[in-house]
Subunit: 129 residues, 10 copies
């Protein structure tokens, strides 16, 4: 019996908390409803984060994404809300959420929001040629 | 009855003013008139901004873009003018406008202009590998 | 003083009427008005033809395309009408018009119409490996 | 007040019934439910047809596509059923439906079905070099 | 408890046997062993078929593909063998298998094999412009 | 001392006259003058041919292409003239010339012309899957 | 101890002689010498064939390709010669060799040659939509 | 009567001197002569600059580019000379010239040169995610 | 007789220890087992490093990658473990491992982890235009 | 009579020594021998440098690259050696050599090495939006 959609984000223990490493997750199948017209909106989400103690579990993430199928929200608010939920569940060192919405009225919109843990510093990046 | 073209840019309240997040809007359907020959010019606009108190409303943006259909202007002046209008309407922390004009005489031209609110500092970027 | 938009398609004599050769013209800058909403529509036109006695002159084609800037019409009717005008002006052996309209309501539409001169037969194509 | 999803496909009169011309419609935003698991499926639909007396109206097509949001069905059956509905509404000379489903279990699936009106013959194609 | 790899290909009834429609399945994750060296080989399989009475069930196909993980075989023989198994399970009107093997020794190899049911004729293709 | 531009196309003996094989030559660096304005035009030429007794020598082809640098001509006439020169020099079984001119006035133009030797028949193409 | 370059093409028995199936081999690393200047030439070879009794063995093919490293030859002659060697070794039902030579003097050249066994007929291709 | 090629670069007043904005111009149709062989060279130029008091006028730029059609010069010297001319005409805050020359002898060459006005500092770039 | 899979990573002496240079290795053929379901997982690995005294030997790397074919592990743990093995074998100045896993459940995952030798500083990068 | 391969790199005087400008040279046709097996290796070289008093002459570079055709060497050593030769010949302010080797054993390898003249500082890069 399959799992129903849920706002419950499950986590597991970060297997390498000693390292600032990156997990990048791409979800091309996000859909919600336009709060003005009630019609479907579509977007591709990208989650990039450096975990602290917890990593987001992918199956629960899929059910979480599914749970927006019958909810409405403006692009800017929806993106910040999802970032907030993911941060609440995992308390990461750093997290960036990119929501790339499909064209409407000839206009393409993307919203990108970030969270940084207080006191956390990004390690100086090594730029290889 | 549809809305007519208008220079009136409407806004709504930034739902997450506590965060420096990015809204990126791509408008492939900009057309105006060449001030020298009166013939149509075409461009793709990209607006990238970090909102302060207000976000630009997308339907009014579409009507605003439409309002240039019968106006003329040089590439450099047009780009700076549109940036000025968007800044006047939204008073953002940061805004960049890129106007990518179609080829004329075998030459491709792009103009990119930015506005930074006085006293605003870009947060140090996190460059993930 | 530049030329105004016009429905007048000018032609010149086909320099090689003894051959069934192909002229393919791509016009990425077509814009007209939606007959329902009055708002701008955008499309890319592709004209492919085998001339008989006349070829279409490119500058007059540009002015002809421009002349639709303030006219309305449904995609299917507009495409057939433009093909009709081009056929009336040049009486080609064969002509195909492809109109690739920009996305509206999440839906992309393309209309393709052809004219064949009565009695004209396409030469058997040589398919090279 | 926006229109609700509906199975009602509206049509308008073919403006050029004397010609075998092609209308190609791409719908990247189709979503339905998996009949086994109840979880969302996503696909991109492409409709290609040569109209007889009627053309499909695009806004009603959008609402029709939306109406599958809460319905389940296997890929093969779903594709044939949508083709059946479109043929019933428009009685075209020819119609092809391509449904390109998103990857599941590491496997990509596409289903392509066609309808030809009895007695209709495809015009011999002109293959331009 | 997950299903183990198996050579058992399951099928379901073709929902539209009255039509010659196409099912195209892409499997990027095929791996087997080289019969000479015992080292892993990798390929992407593409299955295209027109079903008669039965369609191949996708989950069993995944387990079938998995079952080659510890088997060896030359490219040409492997491709013909998999086509044979799929034909035996589904008895299609037409089936084509393309196996695109990864580069070895600077050489890229692809093998393409087809099965046609005796007496079956491909419907004349409609080539739309 | 380098060779000057010349209209002289040199040839060499076809090393395999028993076979209908194809030679495809792409020349991205063609430039001539616009007969109306005297300004430079640019195009990419593609020559595809099945030789009879002679093949075109590539260095002389380069000098021949160079010889148009200071000549004017309309797209349609220029393409047919170059094809004529190449046919006169090599008397091929089949030759196709494609001239893809750079955009002018927002319009892209391509001209494609073919020559077939009297009595020559294209071998039935083998279309591999 | 590695194998030296050799003109010896080895073969193995076609595992499925009852079927007209296709083997397509791409060799991006062909190099020989220019017969005029003695300088290196580079090309990418593509071999496509339908085997009769024998298939070409890939390791010997690699050594065969290597054997041209110090030999000179014109593009057209070289392509026909390699096709001849491959046909002599495998006696296929059909074989096509494409040699895509790197640009020289601003000119790109490709040569394509085919062999068909006497009496062999290509099976009518099934063109799937 | 069209304008002849000329070394005269015309300018117009920068419409927004209060801002450090960017103008990027791409010229795919540059051709000159090789100083060694006298044969044509081809390159694509890209000009990127931040204007001070003057902007380069595009029609005069086209005639300026044309003026090199019969002149010779080595890649490195030619690029620095054109940059020098553009700087002399416009006295920009910053200018970068990229010249991407077509392949010769199997070797692709690009030359990139920059000018910075004494005392001018690049504004710290805002890197948006 | 070919070599079996092994966890043994062999090395050779860095031929240029005086320089901070980069070796970038891409391995598209990594496969392991999902620890939850036992089913195969696929990923593409990219290893980028600046060697100290030792470089990783490529043949042993291939056998090392092969050794995961029958092992299970979560994406995050697997990536950190492989990085750990490579660091243990080569003690590099810097190493980054990127593991790009194939889509599962409509979700794409990538994990990127880095090691820096204590006291090592990245040389300031030279960013060429 | 053509020039033979040679290790002699010729130079010419930098025409603009007052500027830190960049010359980027791409050589897709590098081939040498594998020191273990004696079989051919292939790579694409990219040379990027800021000249001091001398620039490398392109024809001699071609002959230099050719001179490796019969020499063996490991990827890491070969790249550092070629960089050393180029630095010895031109004594540049900065030079980077990238060697992108063709796939072997399913593994792609790239080696990147840099030279900086003692005391030379890269000018702070201007990053244009
Ligand atoms: Ca999508
Ligand atoms: Ca999208
Ligand atoms: Ca554009
Ligand atoms: Ca389009
Ligand atoms: Ca467009
Ligand atoms: Ca898809
Ligand atoms: Ca693959
Ligand atoms: Ca592949
Ligand atoms: Ca070009
Ligand atoms: Ca072009
Ligand atoms: Ca290559
Ligand atoms: Ca090539
Ligand atoms: Ca180029
Ligand atoms: Ca992959
Ligand atoms: Ca992937
Ligand atoms: Ca490569």
């Amino acid at each position: 019996m399959p799992s129903p959609p849920t706002k419950n984000l499950e986590t597991f223990d970060n297997p390498e908390p000693g390292r600032d490493y990156v997990i990048r997750i791409r979800v091309p199948e996000f859909t919600c409803l336009c709060p003005k017209t009630g019609q479907p909106d579509f977007a591709e989400l990208t989650i990039e984060y450096i975990p602290e103690a917890k990593c987001v579990e992918l199956k629960s993430l899929k059910l979480y994404v599914w749970s927006f199928r019958d909810e409405g929200g403006f692009h800017e608010a929806m993106t910040n809300r999802i970032l907030g939920d993911l941060v609440a569940a995992t308390a990461p060192r750093f997290m960036r959420l990119t929501a790339d919405f499909n064209v409407r009225g000839g206009i393409y919109t993307k919203v990108i929001a970030e969270h940084r843990a207080p006191g956390w510093q990004a390690p100086p990046p090594v730029q290889l040629p």
